[in-house]
Symmetry: C2
DNA sequence: CCGCCCGGTGTGAGCGCTAACAACCCGCCT
DNA sequence: AGGCGGGTTGTTAGCGCTCACACCGGGCGG
């Protein structure tokens, strides 16, 4: 910086002012400084800057299994939005999620002195661990619970489940079965609730819930059970809590000779890129992960700038129904 | 740090020594310092440290479409390995890859003064853009080309393709068709070469190559073409360059009434979690992405520690054939 | 018995930047 | 004409840390 100042014939402070877009610099001076910067290929040292401003311009992200389509997409959106806003992102990706691992992750990010934190904390326990940070550093939860007074950005899971269930009822199905995600996942819970609420509103008794762990294998296991129910005509429509499980379910039904959608209709959740090419193409609920990422960053930056809000912020992103070939009116109609 | 020093009754320099595991500190002194650190909940300021050491302890990663299973898994492995080694990771995830976007990404990471760089640069052009950095900062390419004298960690794509093609020939198929990835992707090129080499070694004429863009849709399009060839008995086996395209292919064949594996055998590449639950379960080539991540970090850290190597390093990870239900001997045998 | 060496510790400087303040120039008002 | 205010620039003082070096004391060899 001293070199730049010398070449431009100004003081290092003026260089600093140019770099920080300070208004009170004469245009001619600014140009000379910029030229000198260009000439030297100068880059300011962000460590030194962070040292004095006490801002690292880095946002921490705690995520879980970024190999899955959902978290990976959210992360992608997060990263784009942060970069656009001039922030860096530091990610900790967890294999297993519990109070201990989340605690370690937060420690690691704290060591980095991040300016703010985004927690993709879709599990009850993780959400609790993160909310302990409240007040220390700005935090935004993605897909988190409604509790704890933590600002949250999330897709409206309940609404998505309603969309799915209504679609099936609208086709004439008497009832809708449900293959749920793990009970300690907030998203699984929201989807189960939306399904339940819709059936109850229609005065329909709830079929048993089959619980899975999001994996195709779990869907397959659930599928064998549902194939039995389908053969006796008890099950003609299923709302599956994610597309991967729907894939396993499709496979189990195929093996059992149950036709989709003629015998059983299926709706998934997520709209992974593969869903369109399942056999048959899957009707599902699309989540706009990129939008979630953008809104999360926007909220976090706002929190960093203006300090915490008196009321708890909750931003909701709307899901959308994508109708493909895995749903049809029941055969008996 | 001054506070810690005061409480422990030592100088700030001794505190620094304890923090850096300097050997010449008396155990009693060390304990006092550690106790003081504990008491105050002290955390050292990494910006200040970076300012004087000129090391940020941060590694940059340039990746492409981290939404895909392969890159996402590699990233996950990278992140784990870096964290274990005490490094932070800064990721730039690109939507489109070309000289300009890669250049911007590298700029962004340079601004952060990363200690080293990992480039997931599976495209010819990207690899070229990255190799321009050579010498400036340590760089390791993941899945990069063999050119440019850049250290590379990669899965042996050619070997994987050989495994797939041999498997099909071993089952008695006269020839093997190939649905390739985009020509400018190094992985697509490696797989195509492995397939070609194997057929040539067996003295078999090459069927036409169908080129796709990795998407299920491209596989679907390719599948319609191959369905025609299958009906006339010209195609009985296909090696598809990734699992997503294989899914689309499966779907197209299903629609055309071509049975898999009775009429046509299919082998994919990647072993995505869904592959096991395709209809039918897909025979494919598994890549150990986590291992690639670990080896990349290990190599990069070594480069950072000991400086550049005289000879070009190339670390290869072996792929594995996973046999499932999408392959069988040809009907005519 | 002296001096040297080495383990353990303290002192001072400075990494590159920004914040606060001082200094200057200029036009304009009194 | 003198002074005042605002725009523009320079000067100084750290931010919290590590490095280089000085220092101190005790064991050991000459």
């Amino acid at each position: 910086m001293a070199d730049v100042a010398r070449i431009a014939g100004v003081s290092h402070q003026t260089v600093s002012r140019v770099l920080n877009h300070h208004p009170n610099v004469r245009p001619g001076t600014r140009d000379r400084v910029l030229a000198a910067i260009e000439e030297l290929g100068y880059r300011r040292n962000l460590s030194a800057r962070a040292l004095v401003t006490r801002r690292t311009n880095t946002l921490g992200v705690v995520a879980f299994d970024t190999t899955l389509y959902g978290p990976a997409s959210t992360l992608f959106g997060l990263e784009q939005a942060a970069r656009d806003a001039g922030y860096f992102i530091s990610i900790v990706s967890l294999k297993t999620i519990n109070r201990k691992t989340v605690g370690e992750a937060l420690d690691y990010l704290a060591a980095q002195a991040v300016d703010g934190l985004i927690a993709i904390a879709p599990q009850v326990e993780a959400a609790a661990a993160v909310s302990a940070l409240q007040g220390h550093v700005p935090v935004v939860a993605v897909e988190g619970g409604e509790a704890d007074g933590m600002p949250v950005v999330a897709v409206d899971q309940t609404r998505g489940a309603e969309l799915a269930t209504r679609h099936l009822l609208g086709l004439g199905h008497r009832t809708v079965w449900h293959v749920a995600g793990p009970a300690d996942w907030l998203e699984a819970e929201g989807r189960r609730r939306g399904w339940q609420r819709t059936l109850e509103a229609a005065g329909i008794a709830l079929p048993p819930v089959v619980e899975g762990d999001w994996s195709p294998r779990a869907g397959y296991t659930a599928g064998r059970r549902i194939a039995n129910a389908a053969r006796t005509g008890r099950a003609t429509a299923v709302f599956v809590s994610n597309d991967q499980m729907a894939l396993g379910l499709l496979r189990a039904l195929h093996e059992a000779g149950v036709r989709v959608p003629q015998d059983v209709s299926i709706v998934g959740f997520d709209d992974i890129p593969e869903a369109e090419f399942f056999t048959p193409p899957l009707t599902t609920i699309r989540q706009d992960f990129a939008e979630v990422g953008r809104k999360s960053i926007a909220l976090l930056l706002d929190l960093i700038e203006t300090g915490p809000r008196p009321e708890t912020e909750r931003i909701v992103v709307a899901p959308a129904l994508v109708v493909r070939a895995s749903t049809a009116p029941p055969a008996t109609t």
